[in-house]
Symmetry: C2
Subunit: 454 residues, 2 copies
């Protein structure tokens, strides 16, 4: 029997020491965030009250392509990094494809997803700056769980607003946050003005990331020595996630291959940018043999900001507390259908990804809920890992491309990010297996109506 | 900042190629299993109808210390092995102990526990021998999930009897089994004579591993081309688990240390034997610097076969279908309290471990439920991994020893097996955090009464 190497793992001294800041090398920089009152570009000083200073500086850094990972953060990364790069022989066989499929397995993080990469960094910077409390929002709960753990690592109190539908669908994630000592509130709640306003208008509101952000931002503004943290969308969050792609690049070298396609699911963009940007820098530089790579973001068909949204200035949250951001958006008051991929139910895309999509450096595809779970079950049976409903979208897009290779006979190299496992999302799989899940129609008029309201 | 190596991982070519069979080297061999009707020692032929032949041969092999791992099994191991050996700096700091604490992290297996190591082997041997169906029992569901996945890997149908209390407490594990296509039935059920008999006597019976074994054995006996598989207790199961300790030994060498203590939780003995036996062989051989190691099994105080049971012949199951085994037992009709560590709710210990305990080569301690969850929460906050309720017992025993070192100032090296994660057991943590969990009294008279009924 021929022995094959299945997993590529880096020694600890090869874990990256710097993150990659694509903002410094983009052909067109993202347009600046605007102060909604003045419509003037935002300054760092405008954001310091809300975020850790170092995060703000990273957010607005358009010049340094490489940012040092603090030693303390890197030491915490060692708890679970490097994550394995896996050759998905089982999936290839199940699909009968000549494609070589690799996945970066971020699900082995102790919180079960990539989110910890940025949570540790943000909590560290808060601690360094003397912050005692952090707030955030969470959808599926993966970001909230990661922040709760990271905050506890650095001795900071965490308060998390969890999207109500996820709070109810995924009680175990709430329990995990509570095990790490975080205070968890279903959103919309009566504990903030933003929450009260929404509940007054829509008493049965199921919650959305946009709403939960409004609540967390409001709490941060009204609590002493408290900062707000975000799990995706913003550039500094994506920056922290580039540790994924930087590791994957070294690991693909170990495997002796370079990806023709890099695929990730898309909520706000940090998992996508995390794996894609380190490879995309070679495309931007036009390097030989590395300029042809396609970068594919897989978003849910019921929340299609990249494939059916518009590029324009919009708020990052429901209540309009954030700066105006230049983004592909469905409108900040868009209420996504109750799909189980809670982490992808967000109306907008990060400013960097939005600019890159506009510039044709990446592509986007949309995936219906049923196709995503079919892909997840196929992957689970082939590779033994039950993927998070979010990650199922990346798998579905990968399967589409691998099937094209099966037809054409092309031996393409596909790399996707397995952003998290679905062990805490089994209720979703139950419903799928029982035939109780559906796809959601999203008529153009609904999108139009929401965009017209911006 | 001083850099420390936190995780030790073997390259794939260092994953063991042989399992270690301690039966060949024990100072006193275990006494033979007996045919309950004749009281004569059992022969391989008696067991062939129930188990895969190769498993039976391994079970009764008292001569070969090393058994080759089939290439096909080793290739499947590569999906998740080697598992990391982790230096628990966070836990050491939290305890203020000079002890060096290491844990072998079996929770990174895709099914979340060590159980997959034997499930893959058993399913492989069944497939080789033309078997089309397998049955088994499961407590917490970790074994059942592993067998369901392993069976699907080799294209075999699996039917699993899950202890009713776990079926209800841990619905996600049932969902995982179903995702892999297994048929899952809560036990006791009306689908077998054994189940019916028990339900007739005790209509509200919560189930136990002993009962579920009876049902699975009965189904295997009455189904064509069907074999029974077991997740612990038996020698061949423990043999497969020695891949844990064999890896750990190489990894401890990478760390430049040798354990003074090896600690594991104890249900039937396979996770304990899996990590302990490869180290214990040096103790048996009296090797210099390696003969002093203590081996500590941590069992629940409410199911204390090692610390309060008797060494005698008893059945492995409730209904008395299995051979008579020489074991430390609480009586095969012992009904354990409803602790959340479902995988430890078994009345007896494997024959090898029982003999080793009798011969003083190992020790046992008991841990109350509340102490186990306190230890689990302390570990979670220090190391970021939420441990399975079963594994919490090993952690509690480790913490006791580490605290002794804090008092004495001794720099002992402690290795424990983190047999699984608790992400699917968050309901237990919820109850613990809410103050709703209790310890269970177990009066001597109850144990006496059960033993007198054997």
């Amino acid at each position: 029997m021929k022995e094959t190497v299945k997993r590529f793992i880096l020694p600890e001294n090869e874990i990256p020491r710097r993150w990659y800041n694509i903002q410094a090398e983009m052909p067109n920089k993202p347009m600046p965030p605007l102060n909604p009152a003045t419509r003037e570009p935002l300054h760092a000083e405008d954001l310091y009250p809300l975020f850790a200073r170092e995060c703000v500086n990273q957010e607005l850094n358009m010049t340094d392509a490489w940012i040092d990972i603090p030693d303390e953060v890197r030491e915490k990364y060692k708890y679970y990094r490097s994550t394995p790069l896996v050759r998905a022989y089982g999936l290839e066989k199940a699909l009968g494809t000549p494609a070589h499929i690799y996945f970066k397995n971020e699900s082995v993080s102790p919180m079960g997803s990539h989110k910890l990469n940025s949570a540790i960094a943000q909590a560290y910077y808060c601690k360094q700056e003397g912050v005692t409390n952090v707030t955030t929002e969470t959808g599926a709960g993966q970001w909230g769980a990661s922040l709760a753990y990271a905050a506890s690592l650095f001795g900071i109190d965490a308060a998390v607003y969890q999207v109500k539908i996820s709070y109810e669908q995924k009680p175990y994630r709430r329990s995990i946050m509570q095990t790490f000592g975080a205070q968890v509130t279903p959103s919309p709640s009566m504990s903030t003005r933003a929450g009260k306003d929404i509940l007054t208008k829509h008493p049965n509101h199921q919650g959305s990331l946009g709403t939960a952000i409004s609540e967390a931002v409001e709490l941060a503004r009204t609590t002493p020595n408290c900062k707000y943290t975000l799990g995706s969308v913003l550039s500094h969050v994506t920056l922290h996630q580039t540790v994924i792609g930087l590791e994957a690049e070294k690991q693909m070298e170990m495997a002796g291959e370079y990806p023709d396609m890099v695929i990730a699911c898309f909520g706000g963009g940090s998992n996508f940018g995390g794996i894609a940007f380190p490879f995309m820098r070679h495309k931007i530089a036009g390097e030989e043999g590395k300029a042809h790579t396609r970068f594919i973001a897989a978003e849910p068909a019921s929340c299609p900001k990249l494939t059916r949204g518009e590029f324009r200035y919009d708020f990052g949250d429901e209540a309009g507390y954030t700066p105006l951001l230049p983004m592909y958006t469905l409108g900040h008051n868009f209420a996504p259908a109750n799909i189980h991929a809670g982490g992808l139910r967000y109306h907008g895309a990060g400013t960097v990804v939005s600019q890159l999509l506009k510039d044709g450096l990446m592509e986007a595809v949309d995936v219906e809920q049923l196709e995503s779970f079919e892909a997840g079950c196929l992957f689970a049976r082939a590779e033994g890992i039950i993927p998070a409903p979010e990650s199922c979208h990346a798998i579905a897009a990968t399967i589409r491309e691998a099937r094209k290779c099966a037809e054409s006979g092309e031996e393409k190299v596909i790399l996707f990010n397995l952003s998290g496992h679905g062990l805490i999302d089994m209720a979703s799989y139950d419903k799928f297996l029982a035939g109780d899940l559906v796809n959601y129609e999203l008529p153009d008029e609904v999108i139009r109506h929401n965009l017209d309201q911006i």
